[in-house]
């Protein structure tokens, strides 16, 4: 059995990074819990290859938006079109099979497992050896495990976390946990990577590292990124386009410069942030 594993660091390195293909289109969606309206009539799109930021004050509905995209919440109205297929309801694991990976605001690692196992678990979908071979751990099971380990090691190398390979993630400092979580998402070889506040609670140096990893993932691995972030500096540096939400409604959408100049944004977001 031959498992094809591509080299994550070699593929996709063209300079025409962003294509015109709209990989994700969110059309007029609304979501509410009981009486609380989390998202109201929001529409935006993500193009293949770009870094798309979603910003907004607390409670703006950013995380809910990501939850809708990867199928954890189901919006009451509107459609989400991903890779040309519109859908209303989708189970999270289906989103995963279609190439949507995700990190969480509060690190959602598997605390009892090592860094290596956490990242290996990102390959679950790509592993096929059946229970019989798994029991004997020879043949396809072993080969597959080795092939995927090679891939995972490249991600570990990419994120520079070699020395914590065997450490249970529960014992790692917060910044490293976030990095491992990014690693787990990247090993899924996602087409679309959703990052929920990847730099929350980090110091300046950790933020710089994380920014570098996100840029590298975008440029070298060709991953489309949609991220939520509070640090405006980071958002302006990283992203190609920025969507601004406030109280579940979209108040601006455009390039970082446009958004920064937008009066509604300044009032709603920056005003709040500078208080």
């Amino acid at each position: 059995m031959n498992v094809m594993v591509t080299d994550p660091v070699q593929q996709g390195a063209d300079d025409g990074r962003i294509s015109d293909e709209v990989i994700l289109k969110v059309d007029n969606i609304s979501l509410s819990f009981g009486g609380v309206k989390a998202i109201q009539n929001v529409s935006f799109d993500v193009k293949r290859g770009e870094v798309r930021a979603i910003i907004g004050p607390n409670g703006a509905g950013k995380t809910s938006m990501l939850n809708c995209i990867n199928g954890f919440y189901h919006p009451q109205q509107g459609t989400i079109t991903y890779k040309g297929t519109a859908r209303k309801q989708m189970k999270p694991h289906i989103a995963a099979t279609q190439g949507i990976a995700r990190t969480f605001q509060n690190v959602a690692l598997f605390r009892g497992m090592s860094t290596l196992d956490n990242i290996m678990s990102g390959r679950t979908l790509k592993m096929k050896a059946n229970l019989f071979w798994q029991m004997l751990r020879t043949g396809p099971a072993e080969n597959e495990e080795i092939e995927h380990r090679k891939f995972v090691e490249k991600i570990i190398d990419f994120l520079e976390i070699q020395d914590i390979r065997r450490t249970p993630v529960g014992r790692l400092p917060y910044g490293l946990q976030k990095r491992v979580e990014l690693g787990r998402a990247l090993t899924m070889e996602p087409t679309l990577l959703l990052l929920d506040e990847p730099m929350a609670g980090m110091n300046l140096e950790e933020k710089r590292d994380m920014s570098r990893f996100i840029i590298d993932a975008n440029e070298q691995l060709g991953t489309t990124v949609a991220l939520i972030e509070h640090d405006m500096g980071v958002v302006m540096d990283l992203s190609d386009r920025v969507l601004v939400l406030d109280h579940g409604q979209m108040i601006a959408d455009g390039t970082p410069d446009e958004v920064q100049a937008n009066q509604a944004v300044i009032d709603a977001y920056l005003g709040v942030a500078h208080e």
Partner: protein, 662 residues
């Protein structure tokens, strides 16, 4: 000794490293040639694989226009790929020039320009950026080859090549054209041992670095001799972690490895070198004294956290080891009781400790470069680690003297290595001649003439003497050695080192050139003396206060007497016994310009700043003051004030008084 460990005769046919590669690819085809910790495992290459890797790279480099006689720069941490670049370059008859990977852009520019480098093979983006920043200063440099593509994908690749692509290109060409392999073999055979093998730039303390040209024979002969001397063969293993631009690494991890056919392991990164060493378990190892020193301190610190029982066991075992460990290592007679105790100690402490340090499999370890504290040296040896000293120089392809098994003395650097002749010049300078002696300094005939006599003797620049046992003792840099007014030799560093081996003494400056006698300015070792103070309820507020304490003075005086007694036993040195001393009011500090960054004393600077103190050592005054304005590194100005007592060393020790008890 098993059959594999008996020495082989020298093989005249293989007089260059590429020829040794071809030999090893046949003789040790499936034995590991090198390993590198990468992607979580030790990626291992056999000699026959290395041959193919090197050939492909050679052909790839050739396609970049590399011809016989050209120079190629190599910069990066120890990596098999960079070692292969050495061989691939040498196979073409071109000359590799390794550059210190941490040198700043300017230093690198100088070397590359001086050596006329046309192609540089480097590790990663950091080095590429450095080279690009100096590209206008190095007009000859045409191509840069990088090993790690990270961050470089978006760079302009007209003159930039990935190692992988270059090697693949070579492989494709070789596959397409069967004659290319023959051509390559022909190139190797066309190179003789007399041709230049490598050019190493010595990081001189003064002036610009000099390019030392060394031939294939230099390395192959020296390596062969060293391998025979310590019976190293293809079953051995070394970990390569010292800078590739340093001659030591070039001989230990490259020439000797190729000559004996042993395996070279490269750590994952400098920060994991220690744990990687544990995994590899080198059988042959080199480290500078400060590494052994730091490691010993680390052991002591970690053991302080142990429970009382474990600490007691540890201390007792070390006592036993101190008593008989070295004797057992050297196969000398030890009474059965001690032998039994050592056996238990080996189970409880020495064995586990060797395991922790990664020395369980070590057969030979060397240290050199500076004097190693006898306590430290003995500590390792008493654990059963065969640590030895050598004396070497770039100009000699390293080996000048080595300590033979069974003749280990902490204060000597051993006997002349095989095929090495040694003489002591009239001014005390050590001169040597050997097959490893360099050809010349590159583009520097004056320098060559100054260092190397027409009949092949090299001025080492170090002063030393041969002791009664036929061992070389290095006392100081020749230019620092002076004379007392009575004409006897005065070697300050030699005496300072002796003083520094006492735990209470942190640093010492000894003066005496052109004076009647030697005097010393002492820095106490804060760790050691403060813990003494704690134990003896001596109260102090600062270093200055502690240094001035009468009991501290008394303690230092006792140590100096002890050393004087020691010196009195050495014919050449007994004139240099210290007659007066003072304890400095502050610690000498690199930040204040008193030490170099490598913590060596800047003698002239100290002599200038502490002039009044030095005078007081000779004018008989009981106190001395200084007050100097100085500029700190950050631009602040301050006044250094000091007021210290000067004391006589009471017992003049021409006659050995009594053996100072340990």
């Amino acid at each position: 000794m098993s059959e594999a460990q008996t020495s082989r005769p020298l093989e005249a046919d293989f007089d260059t490293i590429p020829k040794l590669l071809l030999r090893n690819a046949k003789r040790f085809a499936d034995r590991p040639a090198c390993r590198v910790k990468d992607l979580g495992i030790w990626q291992t290459f056999t000699w026959s694989e290395v041959r193919d890797q090197v050939r492909d790279l050679s052909i790839g480099l050739h396609s970049l226009g590399i011809e016989r006689g050209q120079t190629i720069a190599i910069a990066g941490d120890n990596l098999p790929r960079l070692y292969w670049t050495f061989t691939a370059t040498q196979a073409l008859g071109a000359i590799p020039v390794p550059v210190y990977q941490d040198s700043v852009a300017d230093e690198m520019a100088y070397v590359l320009e001086h050596a006329g480098v046309t192609v540089a093979v480097v590790e990663n983006q950091e080095q590429v950026d450095k080279l690009l920043s100096i590209s206008d200063q190095v007009p000859l440099l045409q191509h840069i080859v990088y090993s790690d593509p990270r961050g470089l994908v978006k760079y302009d690749h007209t003159h930039l090549h990935s190692y992988e692509a270059l090697q693949k290109l070579g492989a494709e060409q070789a596959a397409a054209n069967a004659q290319l392999d023959d051509w390559w073999l022909g190139e190797i055979n066309a190179t003789t041992g007399d041709d230049t093998s490598v050019m190493l730039y010595t990081s001189g303390t003064t002036g610009r670095p000099k390019g030392v040209i060394l031939s294939g024979t230099n390395f192959v002969r020296t390596a062969a001799n060293a391998n025979r001397f310590d019976k190293l063969n293809e079953t051995d293993e070394i970990i390569a972690y010292l800078p590739m631009a340093w001659v030591g690494d070039h001989i230990f991890s490259y020439a000797q490895a190729f000559e004996a056919g042993f395996c070279v392991a490269c750590p994952e990164s400098p920060s994991t070198a220690v744990s990687d060493r544990r995994e590899i378990g080198p059988t042959f190892f080199f480290a500078p004294p400060r590494l052994f020193e730091a490691q010993l301190t680390d052991i002591q610190v970690r053991m302080q956290d142990a429970g009382w029982f474990k600490r007691m066991m540890f201390d007792n075992c070390l006592k036993i080891a101190k008593r008989c460990g070295e004797k057992i290592l050297e196969g000398r007679f030890v009474n059965p009781y001690d032998r039994l105790m050592y056996f238990f100690g080996n189970i409880l402490v020495y064995g586990p400790l060797r395991n922790q340090l990664g020395f369980s499999r070590l057969r030979v370890g060397y240290t050199a470069g500076e004097a190693i504290g006898p306590e430290i040296f003995s500590f390792y040896r008493s654990l059963g680690i065969n640590l030895k000293q050598l004396y070497g120089q770039t100009e000699a392809s390293v080996y000048v003297t080595m300590q033979p098994d069974g003749e280990i003395y902490p204060d000597t650097v051993g006997k002349p290595a095989p095929e090495v002749e040694i003489e002591i010049a009239d001014n005390g300078e050590v001169m040597f001649r050997s097959p490893g002696v360099f050809k010349e300094y590159y583009k520097n005939p004056e320098g060559t003439a100054e260092t190397k006599t027409p009949d092949g003797w090299v001025h080492s620049g170090d002063a030393g003497f041969i002791d009664g046992r036929g061992h070389l003792v290095i006392i100081d840099r020749a230019k620092d050695v002076g004379k007392l007014n009575d004409g006897s030799v005065f070697a300050p560093k030699y005496i300072e080192n002796k003083l520094k081996f006492y735990p209470e003494i942190g640093e010492a400056v000894v003066v005496g050139d052109g004076r009647d006698y030697a005097g010393a300015m002492i820095n106490i070792d804060m760790n050691s003396v403060s813990s003494w103070a704690e134990r003896n309820n001596v109260i102090y507020a600062s270093y200055q206060e502690l240094a001035d304490h009468p009991e501290v003075y008394e303690m230092i005086r006792r140590r100096i007497v002890e050393m004087n007694v020691d010196l009195a036993k050495e014919d050449r040195m007994k004139g240099s016994q210290i007659k007066r001393f003072l304890v400095l009011h502050k610690e000498l500090d690199a930040d204040d310009g008193e030490l170099t960054r490598t913590l060596k004393i800047r003698r002239a600077f100290v002599a200038d700043r502490y002039g009044p103190f030095i005078e007081s050592l000779y004018d008989g005054s009981a106190r001395a003051q200084i007050s100097t304005e100085m500029t700190f590194e950050d631009g602040r100005k301050g006044i250094i004030e000091g007021d210290v007592r000067v004391e006589d060393v009471s017992a003049p020790a021409n006659v050995p008084v009594q053996e100072a008890a340990e």
